[in-house]
């Protein structure tokens, strides 16, 4: 499994009008729900000629050992991602708001259920 970057894949795939270089199947990102009640989680990617094939390939590539009960596939070129920089200033606004965390408040330890 390769660690893919949807943002980079998106920019590249968008260069062709159908989202793929001629002769190359488009890239799909795969999301698997491990069991009922859990979110679908990104597990990796694969190439397929169309959506149906992507679902079948995802089953074969990512759920051979009962890893999932539901699969979503989405063309990598359809994903819009934030910048790949993990120190992105986009996330800075939440960095200095310590008061959003419950531990910011001193409550005596003998007050129950708090």
């Amino acid at each position: 499994m390769t660690e893919t970057n949807p943002g980079a894949a998106s920019a590249k795939d968008n260069s062709g009008s159908t989202g793929s270089t001629r002769g190359e199947w488009p890239l799909y990102e795969v999301f698997v729900r491990g069991k009922r009640g859990l979110n679908h989680v990104h597990v990796g990617s694969l190439h397929a000629a169309d959506d149906q094939m992507a679902v079948h390939h995802a089953r074969d590539v990512y759920t051979r050992r009962n890893e999932g009960v539901s699969i979503w596939v989405v063309r990598a070129s359809d994903i819009t991602a934030s910048s790949p920089d993990e120190k992105d200033p986009m996330f800075a606004p939440s960095g200095d708001k310590v008061y959003r965390h419950p531990t910011f408040y001193d409550i005596p330890s003998d007050v129950p259920h708090m």
């Binding site: 920019a11 009008s17 965390h101 129950p112 259920h113």
Partner: protein
Amino acid sequence: MTTQVNDNRFDEAQLQEQFDATIEAKDRIEPRDWMPEAYRKTLIRQVAQHAHSEIIGMQPEGNWISRAPSLRRKAILLAKVQDEAGHGLYLYSAAETLGATRNELTEKLVAGKQKYSSIFNYPTLSYTDVGTIGWLVDGAAICNQVPLCRTSFGPYGRAMIRVCKEESFHQRQGYELLMTMMRGTETQREMVQESVNRFWWPALMMFGPPDDNSPNTEQSMAWGIKTHTNDELRQKFVDMSVPQAEALGVTFPDENLKWNEERGHYDFSTPNWDEFWAVVKGDGPCNAQRLAHRKRAWDEGAWVREAALAFAENQNAEAAETTPAADESTTAEEAAK
């Protein structure tokens, strides 16, 4: 949202059997599963009411943002009200997985066809109420929401998990605010007690009517939507709150509130259910004001929603004109410039 791979091999009786088996196993129903129409309707009603409560719930506290006593309190209150908006959005998203649309739900709210929690029809008369709401109202909400993390409909449960993680800050900031006031002047202590007196009974009513007058409870529990009755949760909340009140140095306005050794719970008086039903039916102190405010925000925001769509259409049209010339070797970094 997604393309169905399976064909319709099952008739309705088989589908009902599968649904029942999933509920029986305490497993979760997910959006693409078949579900009885009544289950879907009940959930849309409950999740929408919950979402509306978060959104309307921004008003009583939002009332005090501009008059916070310090920058610290103002930052905290802003963050809290912002969280309530976020909670509403998580819940509307969950309702949308059931086939409801966001616009339809909002229209029903502003038309008075869907309800929200009655607690938000009471006014906030002083900044002290911000503390009391955090402690008692959010405390009651936590009591109600923790079991809902295990509700039978997957998206609702997952929304509740996110909400519960964030509620802890809400309750603690409220209790801390009240503790600070209790260390202040005699007048400040009196303000805390007065505020607690006003919110205690409405907070108890948040759990809904008593079990013998709650027609939907039995079916909701059979479907695994609810896992505890209204009275069970109310008792749990009373038992949790009494020691917190003692630590804070306030009392609750109920002379029958006392520990019952035999039951292992606190006894307490019956809330005034006539008042509860009157508020539910629209006769609370602030019902008209809350709905009018929401409707005004919705109506006055219409041009913003339309303008954003028009802008997106223009952007797409422009992009369509310029794309054919794009170079295949373009990297993500270059594209970003």
